[in-house]
Protein backbone atom coordinates (compact mmCIF):
# COMPACT_ATOMS: atom_id res chain seq x y z
CA UNK A 1 0.00 0.00 0.00
CA UNK A 2 1.69 3.17 -1.09
CA UNK A 3 -1.11 5.62 -1.76
CA UNK A 4 -0.19 9.27 -1.43
CA UNK A 5 -2.54 9.83 1.49
CA UNK A 6 -1.27 6.88 3.51
CA UNK A 7 2.37 7.96 3.05
CA UNK A 8 1.40 11.50 4.01
CA UNK A 9 -0.27 10.15 7.16
CA UNK A 10 2.80 8.05 7.99
CA UNK A 11 4.87 11.24 7.84
CA UNK A 12 2.50 13.04 10.20
CA UNK A 13 2.55 10.14 12.65
CA UNK A 14 6.32 9.67 12.51
CA UNK A 15 6.98 13.28 13.41
CA UNK A 16 4.51 13.38 16.31
CA UNK A 17 6.98 12.46 19.10
CA UNK A 18 9.38 15.14 17.89
CA UNK A 19 6.65 17.77 18.26
CA UNK A 20 6.72 17.46 22.05
CA UNK A 21 9.74 19.77 22.46
CA UNK A 22 8.60 21.96 19.54
CA UNK A 23 5.42 23.00 21.35
CA UNK A 24 7.07 24.67 24.39
CA UNK A 25 9.82 26.01 22.11
CA UNK A 26 7.25 27.77 19.90
CA UNK A 27 5.45 29.19 22.91
CA UNK A 28 8.74 30.41 24.43
CA UNK A 29 9.69 32.02 21.12
CA UNK A 30 6.39 33.87 20.76
CA UNK A 31 6.47 35.09 24.37
CA UNK A 32 10.11 36.22 24.14
CA UNK A 33 9.40 38.12 20.94
CA UNK A 34 6.85 40.21 22.79
CA UNK A 35 9.05 40.55 25.88
CA UNK A 36 11.94 41.84 23.76
CA UNK A 37 9.66 44.50 22.36
CA UNK A 38 8.73 43.22 18.91
CA UNK A 39 5.22 43.68 17.60
CA UNK A 40 2.98 40.58 17.48
CA UNK A 41 2.91 40.80 13.68
CA UNK A 42 6.71 41.01 13.34
CA UNK A 43 7.21 38.15 15.82
CA UNK A 44 4.78 35.97 13.91
CA UNK A 45 6.22 36.96 10.52
CA UNK A 46 9.58 35.42 11.45
CA UNK A 47 7.86 32.07 12.00
CA UNK A 48 6.30 32.30 8.57
CA UNK A 49 9.22 33.77 6.62
CA UNK A 50 12.29 32.29 8.36
CA UNK A 51 10.63 29.18 9.84
CA UNK A 52 13.68 28.08 11.84
CA UNK A 53 13.19 28.14 15.61
CA UNK A 54 16.71 28.60 16.93
CA UNK A 55 17.66 31.13 14.27
CA UNK A 56 14.49 33.13 14.96
CA UNK A 57 15.33 33.44 18.66
CA UNK A 58 18.89 34.52 17.89
CA UNK A 59 17.63 36.97 15.27
CA UNK A 60 15.23 38.83 17.56
CA UNK A 61 17.61 38.64 20.53
CA UNK A 62 20.42 40.23 18.52
CA UNK A 63 18.24 42.93 16.97
CA UNK A 64 16.75 43.85 20.36
CA UNK A 65 20.26 43.99 21.85
CA UNK A 66 21.42 46.56 19.32
CA UNK A 67 23.08 44.33 16.74
CA UNK A 68 23.28 45.60 13.17
CA UNK A 69 20.89 44.00 10.68
CA UNK A 70 23.88 42.61 8.80
CA UNK A 71 25.10 40.73 11.89
CA UNK A 72 21.62 39.44 12.72
CA UNK A 73 21.06 38.23 9.16
CA UNK A 74 24.51 36.65 8.93
CA UNK A 75 23.99 34.72 12.14
CA UNK A 76 20.69 33.37 10.82
CA UNK A 77 22.59 32.14 7.77
CA UNK A 78 25.30 30.51 9.89
CA UNK A 79 22.83 28.78 12.19
CA UNK A 80 20.76 27.49 9.28
CA UNK A 81 23.77 26.37 7.25
CA UNK A 82 23.08 22.89 8.64
CA UNK A 83 20.25 22.68 6.09
CA UNK A 84 22.91 22.33 3.38
CA UNK A 85 23.80 19.07 5.03
CA UNK A 86 20.21 17.86 5.07
CA UNK A 87 19.62 18.92 1.46
CA UNK A 88 22.76 17.13 0.34
CA UNK A 89 21.51 13.91 1.91
CA UNK A 90 17.86 14.22 0.79
CA UNK A 91 18.57 15.23 -2.81
CA UNK A 92 18.98 11.67 -4.10
CA UNK A 93 15.45 10.79 -2.96
CA UNK A 94 13.88 13.91 -4.46
CA UNK A 95 15.71 14.11 -7.80
CA UNK A 96 12.73 12.86 -9.84
CA UNK A 97 10.49 15.74 -8.74
CA UNK A 98 9.89 18.74 -11.00
CA UNK A 99 11.71 21.96 -10.18
CA UNK A 100 8.56 23.61 -8.82
CA UNK A 101 7.86 20.67 -6.52
CA UNK A 102 11.49 20.66 -5.35
CA UNK A 103 11.27 24.36 -4.55
CA UNK A 104 8.02 23.93 -2.63
CA UNK A 105 9.07 20.89 -0.63
CA UNK A 106 12.41 22.51 0.30
CA UNK A 107 10.60 25.01 2.54
CA UNK A 108 9.66 22.11 4.82
CA UNK A 109 13.19 20.86 5.47
CA UNK A 110 13.99 21.19 9.18
CA UNK A 111 15.94 19.23 11.79
CA UNK A 112 12.88 17.21 12.67
CA UNK A 113 11.53 16.49 9.18
CA UNK A 114 15.01 15.55 8.02
CA UNK A 115 15.37 13.10 10.90
CA UNK A 116 12.12 11.23 10.28
CA UNK A 117 11.85 11.42 6.48
CA UNK A 118 15.46 10.46 5.84
CA UNK A 119 14.86 7.38 7.97
CA UNK A 120 11.72 6.62 5.94
CA UNK A 121 13.42 7.21 2.58
CA UNK A 122 16.16 4.76 3.46
CA UNK A 123 13.61 1.99 3.95
CA UNK A 124 13.18 0.15 0.66
CA UNK A 125 9.50 -0.78 0.98
CA UNK A 126 8.09 2.27 -0.75
CA UNK A 127 9.14 3.08 -4.31
CA UNK A 128 6.62 5.67 -5.51
CA UNK A 129 5.49 8.92 -3.93
CA UNK A 130 8.08 8.75 -1.18
CA UNK A 131 8.17 12.54 -0.93
CA UNK A 132 4.63 12.56 0.50
CA UNK A 133 6.27 11.46 3.74
CA UNK A 134 8.28 14.68 3.86
CA UNK A 135 5.13 16.62 2.99
CA UNK A 136 3.14 14.97 5.79
CA UNK A 137 5.87 15.44 8.39
CA UNK A 138 6.66 18.96 7.20
CA UNK A 139 3.12 20.28 7.07
CA UNK A 140 2.40 18.84 10.52
CA UNK A 141 5.51 20.45 11.99
CA UNK A 142 4.89 23.73 10.17
CA UNK A 143 1.33 23.98 11.50
CA UNK A 144 2.49 23.20 15.04
CA UNK A 145 5.17 25.89 14.87
CA UNK A 146 2.78 28.54 13.53
CA UNK A 147 0.09 27.79 16.12
CA UNK A 148 2.47 27.63 19.10
CA UNK A 149 4.14 30.88 18.03
CA UNK A 150 0.73 32.57 18.11
CA UNK A 151 -0.07 31.05 21.53
CA UNK A 152 3.28 32.36 22.80
CA UNK A 153 2.57 35.82 21.40
CA UNK A 154 -0.77 35.86 23.25
CA UNK A 155 0.85 34.61 26.48
CA UNK A 156 3.81 36.98 26.13
CA UNK A 157 1.65 39.95 26.88
CA UNK A 158 0.45 38.22 30.07
CA UNK A 159 3.71 36.82 31.50
CA UNK A 160 5.31 39.40 33.84
CA UNK A 161 8.87 40.46 33.07
CA UNK A 162 10.01 39.53 36.62
CA UNK A 163 9.69 35.87 35.70
CA UNK A 164 12.88 36.26 33.75
CA UNK A 165 11.62 34.40 30.73
CA UNK A 166 14.70 35.63 28.89
CA UNK A 167 16.66 32.96 30.76
CA UNK A 168 14.72 30.40 28.75
CA UNK A 169 16.86 31.40 25.73
CA UNK A 170 20.19 29.91 26.90
CA UNK A 171 18.33 26.97 28.44
CA UNK A 172 16.61 26.18 25.15
CA UNK A 173 19.89 26.24 23.25
CA UNK A 174 21.56 24.13 25.90
CA UNK A 175 18.77 21.59 25.48
CA UNK A 176 19.37 21.48 21.71
CA UNK A 177 23.05 20.53 22.09
CA UNK A 178 22.78 18.49 25.29
CA UNK A 179 23.34 15.19 23.47
CA UNK A 180 26.71 16.42 22.19
CA UNK A 181 27.92 16.69 25.80
CA UNK A 182 28.89 13.03 25.56
CA UNK A 183 31.38 13.74 22.78
CA UNK A 184 34.67 15.17 24.01
CA UNK A 185 35.53 16.88 20.71
CA UNK A 186 32.19 18.69 20.69
CA UNK A 187 32.56 19.75 24.33
CA UNK A 188 35.96 21.20 23.43
CA UNK A 189 34.48 23.17 20.52
CA UNK A 190 31.68 24.39 22.83
CA UNK A 191 34.14 25.66 25.44
CA UNK A 192 36.35 27.39 22.86
CA UNK A 193 33.29 28.98 21.24
CA UNK A 194 31.75 30.02 24.55
CA UNK A 195 34.92 31.64 25.82
CA UNK A 196 35.49 33.35 22.48
CA UNK A 197 31.97 34.80 22.61
CA UNK A 198 32.75 36.30 26.03
CA UNK A 199 36.06 37.75 24.81
CA UNK A 200 34.57 39.30 21.66
CA UNK A 201 31.28 40.34 23.27
CA UNK A 202 32.13 44.04 23.20
CA UNK A 203 33.05 44.15 19.52
CA UNK A 204 30.60 46.60 17.86
CA UNK A 205 27.33 45.44 16.26
CA UNK A 206 27.36 42.21 18.31
CA UNK A 207 29.79 40.80 15.76
CA UNK A 208 30.88 38.16 18.30
CA UNK A 209 28.05 36.01 17.01
CA UNK A 210 29.70 35.92 13.58
CA UNK A 211 33.33 35.84 14.78
CA UNK A 212 32.76 32.93 17.16
CA UNK A 213 31.59 30.35 14.60
CA UNK A 214 34.72 31.02 12.55
CA UNK A 215 36.91 30.34 15.57
CA UNK A 216 34.77 27.36 16.58
CA UNK A 217 34.75 25.76 13.14
CA UNK A 218 38.46 26.40 12.73
CA UNK A 219 39.14 24.57 16.00
CA UNK A 220 36.79 21.80 14.82
CA UNK A 221 38.92 21.50 11.67
CA UNK A 222 42.08 21.18 13.78
CA UNK A 223 40.41 18.55 15.97
CA UNK A 224 39.35 16.59 12.88
CA UNK A 225 42.93 16.76 11.56
CA UNK A 226 44.37 15.54 14.86
CA UNK A 227 41.85 12.68 14.98
CA UNK A 228 42.73 11.69 11.40
CA UNK A 229 46.44 11.51 12.23
CA UNK A 230 45.91 9.27 15.20
Amino acid sequence: MSSKLSIFKTGSIDIAPLLIPVIPFGIIFGAIGIELGFSPLMTYATSLIIFGGASQIVFIQLLSGGASSLVAITSVGVINSRHFLYGAVLTEYLEKLSLIKKLLISYLITDQTFAVSNKFFKSKHVKKNKHYHLLGAGITLWTTWQVTTIIGILLGSIVPEEWGLKFAIPLTFLAIIINEFRKLDHVLVMLISGISSLIFFDVPFKAYIVITPFIGLFSALIIIKIKENQ
Binding site: I20, P21, M42, T46, I49, I50, S55, V58, F59, Q61, L63, S69, A72, I73, S75, V76, G77, I79, N80, R82, H83, F84, Y86, G87, A88, V89, L90, T91, E92, K102, G164, F167, I169, P170, L171, T172, F173, L174, A175, I176, I177, I178, E180, F181, R182, H186, V189, M190, I192, S193, G194, S197, F201, I209, T212, P213, G216, L217, A220, I224
Partner: protein, 101 residues
Protein backbone atom coordinates in the same frame (compact mmCIF):
# COMPACT_ATOMS: atom_id res chain seq x y z
CA UNK B 1 14.09 48.41 8.26
CA UNK B 2 13.47 45.38 10.46
CA UNK B 3 10.97 44.06 7.96
CA UNK B 4 13.62 44.04 5.27
CA UNK B 5 15.93 42.15 7.66
CA UNK B 6 13.25 39.52 8.28
CA UNK B 7 12.72 39.03 4.56
CA UNK B 8 16.44 38.78 3.76
CA UNK B 9 16.99 36.38 6.67
CA UNK B 10 14.07 34.34 5.34
CA UNK B 11 15.47 34.27 1.81
CA UNK B 12 18.90 33.17 3.05
CA UNK B 13 17.33 30.42 5.16
CA UNK B 14 15.28 29.29 2.18
CA UNK B 15 18.45 29.23 0.09
CA UNK B 16 20.11 26.88 2.62
CA UNK B 17 17.09 24.59 2.16
CA UNK B 18 16.61 24.42 -1.59
CA UNK B 19 20.11 24.92 -3.02
CA UNK B 20 21.37 21.38 -2.47
CA UNK B 21 18.13 19.88 -3.75
CA UNK B 22 17.56 21.96 -6.88
CA UNK B 23 20.89 23.28 -8.14
CA UNK B 24 23.46 20.68 -7.41
CA UNK B 25 23.86 17.07 -6.85
CA UNK B 26 24.32 16.63 -3.10
CA UNK B 27 27.53 14.72 -3.72
CA UNK B 28 29.16 18.10 -4.30
CA UNK B 29 29.41 18.56 -0.54
CA UNK B 30 32.47 16.51 0.20
CA UNK B 31 32.98 14.51 3.35
CA UNK B 32 35.23 17.06 5.01
CA UNK B 33 32.73 19.89 4.52
CA UNK B 34 29.94 17.72 5.90
CA UNK B 35 32.05 16.82 8.91
CA UNK B 36 32.86 20.47 9.64
CA UNK B 37 29.20 21.48 9.20
CA UNK B 38 28.20 18.91 11.80
CA UNK B 39 30.00 21.08 14.38
CA UNK B 40 27.89 24.17 13.58
CA UNK B 41 25.43 23.69 16.49
CA UNK B 42 28.31 23.13 18.93
CA UNK B 43 29.91 26.43 17.99
CA UNK B 44 26.88 28.68 17.39
CA UNK B 45 24.79 27.84 20.42
CA UNK B 46 27.52 28.26 23.07
CA UNK B 47 28.03 31.75 21.61
CA UNK B 48 24.46 32.50 22.71
CA UNK B 49 24.54 30.53 25.96
CA UNK B 50 27.78 31.89 27.48
CA UNK B 51 27.04 35.65 27.24
CA UNK B 52 23.39 35.09 28.28
CA UNK B 53 24.52 33.26 31.43
CA UNK B 54 27.78 34.99 32.38
CA UNK B 55 26.89 38.60 31.58
CA UNK B 56 24.15 40.71 33.17
CA UNK B 57 21.95 43.17 31.27
CA UNK B 58 24.76 45.73 31.33
CA UNK B 59 27.41 43.44 29.83
CA UNK B 60 29.31 42.89 33.11
CA UNK B 61 30.36 39.48 34.42
CA UNK B 62 27.90 38.11 36.99
CA UNK B 63 28.87 36.76 40.44
CA UNK B 64 29.60 33.07 40.87
CA UNK B 65 26.45 32.95 43.04
CA UNK B 66 24.16 34.38 40.35
CA UNK B 67 20.83 32.52 39.97
CA UNK B 68 21.61 32.00 36.27
CA UNK B 69 24.76 30.01 37.14
CA UNK B 70 22.76 27.65 39.38
CA UNK B 71 20.05 27.39 36.74
CA UNK B 72 22.39 26.45 33.92
CA UNK B 73 24.32 23.97 36.10
CA UNK B 74 21.07 22.24 37.07
CA UNK B 75 20.03 22.12 33.42
CA UNK B 76 23.38 20.63 32.34
CA UNK B 77 23.22 17.90 34.99
CA UNK B 78 19.55 17.02 34.44
CA UNK B 79 19.96 17.25 30.66
CA UNK B 80 23.07 15.10 30.58
CA UNK B 81 21.43 12.25 32.44
CA UNK B 82 17.86 12.52 31.18
CA UNK B 83 18.74 13.36 27.53
CA UNK B 84 15.36 15.06 27.57
CA UNK B 85 14.90 18.51 26.03
CA UNK B 86 11.92 19.54 28.14
CA UNK B 87 13.43 18.27 31.41
CA UNK B 88 16.56 20.29 30.63
CA UNK B 89 14.68 23.57 30.13
CA UNK B 90 12.23 23.10 33.01
CA UNK B 91 14.88 22.08 35.56
CA UNK B 92 16.97 25.14 34.69
CA UNK B 93 13.99 27.47 34.98
CA UNK B 94 12.81 25.99 38.29
CA UNK B 95 16.23 26.28 39.94
CA UNK B 96 16.56 29.82 38.55
CA UNK B 97 13.16 30.76 39.95
CA UNK B 98 13.97 29.25 43.37
CA UNK B 99 16.97 31.57 43.57
CA UNK B 100 15.33 34.77 42.30
CA UNK B 101 12.17 34.57 44.40
Amino acid sequence: MSWLSVIIAGLITYFTRFSMITFVNGKMLNKKVRLVLSYVPSTVFPAIIFPAVFFNDYGNLVDASDPKIFGILAAIIIGYFSKNIIATIISGLIVYWIFIF
